[in-house]
Symmetry: C2
Subunit: 449 residues, 2 copies
Amino acid sequence: MVSPNVESTTADSTYTFRNLVKKSWAKLVKVINMVKEIGQDDPRRVIHSFKVGLALVLIYILHHFRPSFYGFGDNIIWAVLTVVIVLELSVGATLGKGFNRMLATGLAGALGVASNELATLCGDKGKVVMTSIFVFVIAERVTFMRFSPKLKARYDYGMIIFILTFCLVSLSDVTGHELLEMAYERLLTIIIGSCIAITVCVFIFPVWIGEDLHNKIAGNIEKLADFLEGFGDEYFNNSENTEVAENEKQFLHKYKSVLSSKTSEETMAVLARWEPRHGKFRFRHPWKQYLKIGNLARICAYKIEALSLYLINSKTPYEFRSRIQESCTNISLESGKALKESSLMIKKMCKSSTPNSHVLNAKNAAECLKAVLRTNPWEGADHFEIIPASTVASLLIDIVICVEQICEAVEELASLANFVPCQLLHRGTVQPISDSDGSVHVVNVNIGE
Amino acid sequence: MVSPNVESTTADSTYTFRNLVKKSWAKLVKVINMVKEIGQDDPRRVIHSFKVGLALVLIYILHHFRPSFYGFGDNIIWAVLTVVIVLELSVGATLGKGFNRMLATGLAGALGVASNELATLCGDKGKVVMTSIFVFVIAERVTFMRFSPKLKARYDYGMIIFILTFCLVSLSDVTGHELLEMAYERLLTIIIGSCIAITVCVFIFPVWIGEDLHNKIAGNIEKLADFLEGFGDEYFNNSENTEVAENEKQFLHKYKSVLSSKTSEETMAVLARWEPRHGKFRFRHPWKQYLKIGNLARICAYKIEALSLYLINSKTPYEFRSRIQESCTNISLESGKALKESSLMIKKMCKSSTPNSHVLNAKNAAECLKAVLRTNPWEGADHFEIIPASTVASLLIDIVICVEQICEAVEELASLANFVPCQLLHRGTVQPISDSDGSVHVVNVNIGE
């Protein structure tokens, strides 16, 4: 006879088991979705994973069919090590690591053989002391050099490999001819590993980090442009915004990623310098100029961050806001257009004067705004109420300077990188905005940099 | 007979040689100075370099006097490899890498032995096919997983080692009992290498990255405080600033490093989580809260960046500026003090209510400023001229909100990390600033986050 108690325990355990299955299933679905997302975010990642698998299988097959090729069986580890560590997503990173690895192994191997020979001359006990001193001094010095920011950026991996190889060779028990042969064979294996990694990386769907940097900078400028183009309408819109509408306006938040992109841009520029000529990029493409543009874009983004606050709260009543509506909208629209054209110039790699005309329009609009402000448009209004509007005006005038600097830097890039003149960058025509008195003034405000 | 021509050539070559010596000497001096600078910037780097040298000598001596300890001579490379790569400047990074290396080697070794056995069952030709498939699938999947940001942050190194070890074991020519023994011995060597690295790192002048993060966040808040404390005097100073004086005022520029510190803070927080209890830090110290404080400090720094522009150019005439001098100076001074006390709270790890009183003062000063603005202090002035001053007022009011949020986050940290109450944090007394009508208002401005 089954007691009700046992029955309920069985039911309980069935329930627990079901729950467990349910939970595991949910977790599995979550993991699969995450994996899918990673792949969808950047399909090149899927290809890269295949490339790593392929390179390793290639080494295995080479090793299997030509075992005599390697000096002794053990050496395959150096090829595998090299491929696993050297083969990175981008060509720049792979070339940089491969070059570092080969050069460092060669140099450190030679130095190690020399120091090993020298230590052997000192007798058995002397060898222990000498080797200890050599290893200590080299490891200590090179580790210290790794802290130099300049060397770290380009040769960090090489310096690690230098210490490693030097230690391995000088600590080795074999000496003389045998040591030389071993060192030579290891170097050869590492060169083979690096070459396989580089070949697979460059010839099978290559990912050029220089191109990524190029697109990223163009994208960042476009994000700022999106904000500025939308700002005027958004700010001078009289209707109250619901929260749902706020969430839909993604273009007003995209610029935030520009605020913290400094580190990744710098890394990309360092890696891009390793890349050979590819597509429209020369070997000595002016990558540093991208960093300059990136920094100017970031300064502009800081200002936009300050501006964005006034979209949401403490708006000046529309009655007063509307008095600067025309010139402010013009400034933000023309600044946005100038940035968008500059971004297009980078993307298409062609020279155009369209950004300049938009910058000119924006500057004229800024002069108009100043003229409006000089007429005391808010006479009689509560000072406290008009402060947000006047801050927006002031920030917009500053942003024009930023935009001008970005456009100038892009133009500089165009001449450094020999962009070709654009045939027809944009179908729209630029409507000149005349200054209040018809002439063009130069705005003489410096930003504090 | 020596022709004048030859004479001049000799003189030329002497000159060239001298020049060369001079240049080389100048370069050497430059390198030595650079090295000195790196050491002076952070003397812990010098110690770290010594530690790396020491750890490697330790392995060499261990290997020399107990060669039988390692299964076969070749295995020393795994210990050297491990020490060179695992031993990092900070304890967190070393523990993270050591743990990753040991766990990944263990897991991948076991999986590799199993797959090797399985492949051997399939006959000679079958083995090649099976091993290729195994290597491809594992390398492909794990490489793909490395793109997941969450896994990458903590286990990137482990995943590389996993691929590496799996490939080495499954590609190995030896099988059966011999393979097991080899895998076991390599694992042992890697554990020995990791332990040596960890021991040297933890017991000889350890560098705790958690402490670094703690000090960095406190330092960042202090930098903002320095700016705010100095801003009032600087902005309302009637005299023209010379450029020399501008350069001396370092405190006005220090905040700039806060703008781009996001990436390094995040890395530090990930590494800090590996560190055991040390000094005043528990094992599960709330490192995430530091990131929250860091983000709030950065938002404040963006506003300060906007504010800093008005120190240099387009100042409102002093006549009009002076009308908001008192309340603006109070806001910036009290905000600065609140941040300085918060920074001190973090540094000394003790709870105090002093920051709150300063925040209260700053809020009262903001209310005063609003009251002043409501009286239309600039009646009759040129609107365009007063815009910079009103922008400064508006930004300062916004900054008070930011400062309050930072102080709240610091207080949250104090309760999460169980800070003890301060005995006497600061000798000064807080002078309450009364609101215009004597009561305390709550400022209801939301920042757009």
